[in-house]
């Protein structure tokens, strides 16, 4: 097989094509990975800007900058852009870059589909931005003031911007389903000879589980928003009580997608940690098999506990008890992962380069978010915390460290491999500290705000909440601006820097470190033999 692959490649594309064609028509996993990562970086700034506007408005009680509908539209956009625009494409970018290099495959299994799944994204992002812009024009209707959950009946009444949003969600869904199919096929069929499933690098395992979750739940969301579209324009009443429908059904469909989505965001970062922590502790990962098992357990249980987002809709006692116990059960396999990470670090020869700093930060702060998650899982307590700022604090503590810091760790860890240059370690550390300190100043006080009763998704608040909101807003400015440093570091590393060796970190293990830094345009055209 290997020799024929070589001749095939030599015949068709020796080198990278030049100009815009290289990117628009690309079927190369490395180029598509780069495109995904750049797209995610842009979206990170768009989503971050809307978050900073939100925090500016909340700096003082009263209505200063934004009118209520615009405020809620920004809340909606912040969530959708960060989830679908930043975190998922960034994780997909890492997958595209790393999976073929890690499993010794020449490329993804379906390169043309790979091109399609990326190039749908800019179209979807345009749709999403149009949904924001349209209400500013005459006849554009109201803004999307529903939050990212787009619950009916409110979402049925919103103007035409909701239709743009529904189509944006359809496009984003198609894109991630295509990418997932591609990743699963690659991982199942393209591994180098001798690489058994249980010898696969952890990052590949996490993506295999993530991709399966995606193809199971994204179509259900697509179905839900399709029904919404029909309710809005074609006279159906899936969610309209007056026509015999039930608005709560939408909530079930949404959260059937929405809860596993949390694990979709989390797992790729857990995969990154499983490489970063061993590399900088100079020890193999503790409990590889249990890690794989725990991850599958998290994904499986995570599929059937969605209604813990809906405790207050008036489900029966039996139903809420089931969802409560199921939710608390998840903390066991997640705890096992965390203990595995700690055991990996235990008595290791640890050094604290930027990726490792992020990794240690995740272990600490993600655990904290998990703890407030267990608080929220308990039904009587959740009745108090529901829709308060406590929930906002909780999910940012889970998603920022759990998803975003994991991606940062991955970017810093593999940046030398991608660019061939070492990044500036001093700046990297500075970025970590401003980022993490800014993050904690922003979100820690929100726990207290929530416990004191401040509701979320509301533009104005009682004066008694002023102090903590001021602290939170100041933190948000530090946190938001610190990402400019990330941008600077990435650009600087792409343009030059200390030459990276093929094994950029001396503790790093895995096939990707056998390749040059930066790797050739086509790698592993001859599949490596795994002993």
């Amino acid at each position: 097989m290997s020799t024929t692959t070589l001749t095939h490649d030599e015949a068709h594309h020796h080198e990278a094509p030049k100009g815009w064609r290289r990117w628009l028509f690309s079927t190369n996993h490395k180029d598509i990975g780069t495109l995904y990562l750049l797209f995610a970086l842009i979206m990170l700034f768009v989503g971050g800007a809307s978050a900073m506007l939100i925090r500016m408005e909340l700096f003082q009680p009263g209505i200063q900058l934004l009118d209520p509908d615009l405020y809620n539209n920004l809340v909606t956009n912040h969530a959708l852009i960060m989830i679908f625009g930043a975190v998922m494409p960034a994780a997909a970018g890492l997958a595209n870059w790393m999976i073929p290099m890690m499993i010794g495959a020449p490329d993804m299994a379906l390169p043309r589909m790979n091109n399609l799944s990326f190039w749908i994204l800019p179209a979807a992002a345009t749709m999403l931005l149009l949904s924001f812009v349209v209400p500013f024009f005459p006849g554009g209707g109201t803004q999307i003031n529903t939050g990212w959950t787009i619950y009916p009946p409110l979402s049925v009444q919103v103007g035409m911007s909701m239709d743009f949003l529904i189509f944006a969600i359809h496009l984003l869904g198609i894109s991630s389903v295509l990418a997932s199919i591609n990743i699963i096929v690659t991982l199942l069929n393209m591994r180098a000879p001798g690489m058994k499933m249980l010898k696969m690098p952890m990052f590949c395992w996490t993506w295999l589980v993530t991709a399966f979750l995606l193809i199971l739940v994204v179509p259900v969301l697509a179905g839900g928003v399709t029904m919404l579209l029909f309710d809005r324009h074609f006279g159906t009443s899936f969610f309209d009580a007056a026509g015999g429908g039930d608005p709560v059904l939408f909530q079930h469909l949404f959260w059937f997608f929405g809860h596993p989505e949390v694990y979709i965001l989390l797992l790729p970062s857990i995969g990154v940690l499983s490489h970063v922590i061993p590399a900088f502790s100079r020890k193999p990962l503790f409990g590889y098999n249990s890690m794989v098992g725990a991850m599958i357990a998290v994904a499986t249980i995570g599929m059937v506990v969605w209604a813990h987002h809906q405790y207050t809709i008036g489900m029966s006692l039996g139903a809420v008890t089931y969802f409560m116990i199921g939710t608390i059960l998840i903390s066991i396999p997640v705890g096992l992962m965390i203990f595995n990470f700690i055991a990996t670090m235990w008595r290791g020869a640890m050094t604290f380069e930027t990726p490792m700093l992020f990794a240690v930060g995740i272990v600490l702060m993600f655990t904290f978010g998990g703890l407030s998650g267990v608080m929220l899982a308990v039904v009587p307590a959740d009745m108090q915390y529901h829709d308060s700022m406590f929930v906002v604090a909780h999910f940012h503590y889970v998603l920022m460290p759990g998803a975003v810091f994991g991606l940062f760790a991955g970017v810093f860890y593999w940046l030398p491999k991608w660019t061939g240059h070492m990044y500036d370690e001093k700046l990297g550390k500075l970025f970590f500290w401003t980022n993490v300190i800014g993050f904690n100043i922003t979100f820690f006080p929100q726990h207290f705000l929530g416990l004191a009763g401040m509701p979320r998704r509301i533009v104005d608040y009682n004066v008694m909440f002023t102090e903590f909101n001021v602290i939170s807003s100041v933190g948000a400015m530090i946190f938001g601006l610190s990402h400019l440093l990330l941008l600077y570091i990435v650009i600087k590393t792409i343009r030059g820097g200390k030459k990276a060796e093929s094994r950029a970190w001396e503790g790093a293990k895995g096939l990707e470190w056998e390749l040059d830094s930066p790797p050739a345009f086509h790698t592993w055209t001859v599949a490596p033999q795994i002993k």
Binding site: M1, D246, L317
Partner: protein, 202 residues
């Protein structure tokens, strides 16, 4: 192209088709949820606490009036967009003694020129108070028909039971007025989740 590469290609195609099948199935599952969800709720009754057995229980008319206790009752009105009516409570809030009968008025006006029939669907918040709020006489028991631009008073006689749990000091009665075909009525006991044929929005 060698045999190995072709083999790998067809293997990839098989896996891709299989996974695409999963995607299509899950898309269908979303739509299958519509009937299944209704069925599941009817069989297990998990849908709503407010529709559990207590609701069918007739609240015994209290013998006496509890003069020592005050409960605040608030009235809230909603009109479904398919009904061209204005509908408002004349009293928005009142303090009542449990066990005593009170009367309040709502007012409705048909804003269109045609004769339109509608019916109001009541709900009580917090839902725990539902079985303790009894309506002796309510415009919501019947469908209401208003000819073009007609205005009408809608009376309600109600009583809060003395059995109302201690911790409830205030409750809200909310009415949603919906459009109805002339021949149909909404059976309150069946709850609003029961399929009722209603005119669409033109």
């Amino acid at each position: 192209m060698s045999k190995a590469v072709t083999e790998n290609r067809s293997k990839n195609r098989r896996t891709t088709l299989l996974l695409s099948g999963v995607v299509v199935l899950m898309f269908g599952f979303g739509f299958a949820m519509v009937p299944l969800y209704n069925l599941f709720c009817q069989i297990t009754g998990t849908q709503s606490l407010s529709q559990r057995s207590e609701i069918g229980r007739v609240v015994a008319l209290s013998d006496g009036v509890d003069k020592s206790r005050w409960v605040t009752v608030k009235f809230d009105t909603t009109v479904h967009p398919n009904l061209p009516w204005a509908f408002n409570a004349l009293t928005h809030k009142m303090r009542v003694h449990p066990g005593e009968t009170y009367e309040v008025n709502f007012t409705a006006q048909n804003r269109s020129n045609e004769t339109v029939t509608g019916q109001a669907i009541p709900s009580v918040a917090p839902w725990q108070a539902t079985p303790y709020f009894s309506k002796m006489d309510c415009f919501c028991f019947n469908k209401q028909t208003l000819s073009g631009t007609e205005k009408a008073d809608m009376p309600l006689r109600f009583m809060v039971s003395t059995d109302l749990p201690e911790e409830i000091h205030s409750l809200t009665l909310s009415y949603s007025f919906m459009r109805l075909k002339e021949t149909e009525t909404i059976d309150e006991k069946q709850g609003i989740s029961k399929r009722i044929a209603v005119n669409g929005v033109e």
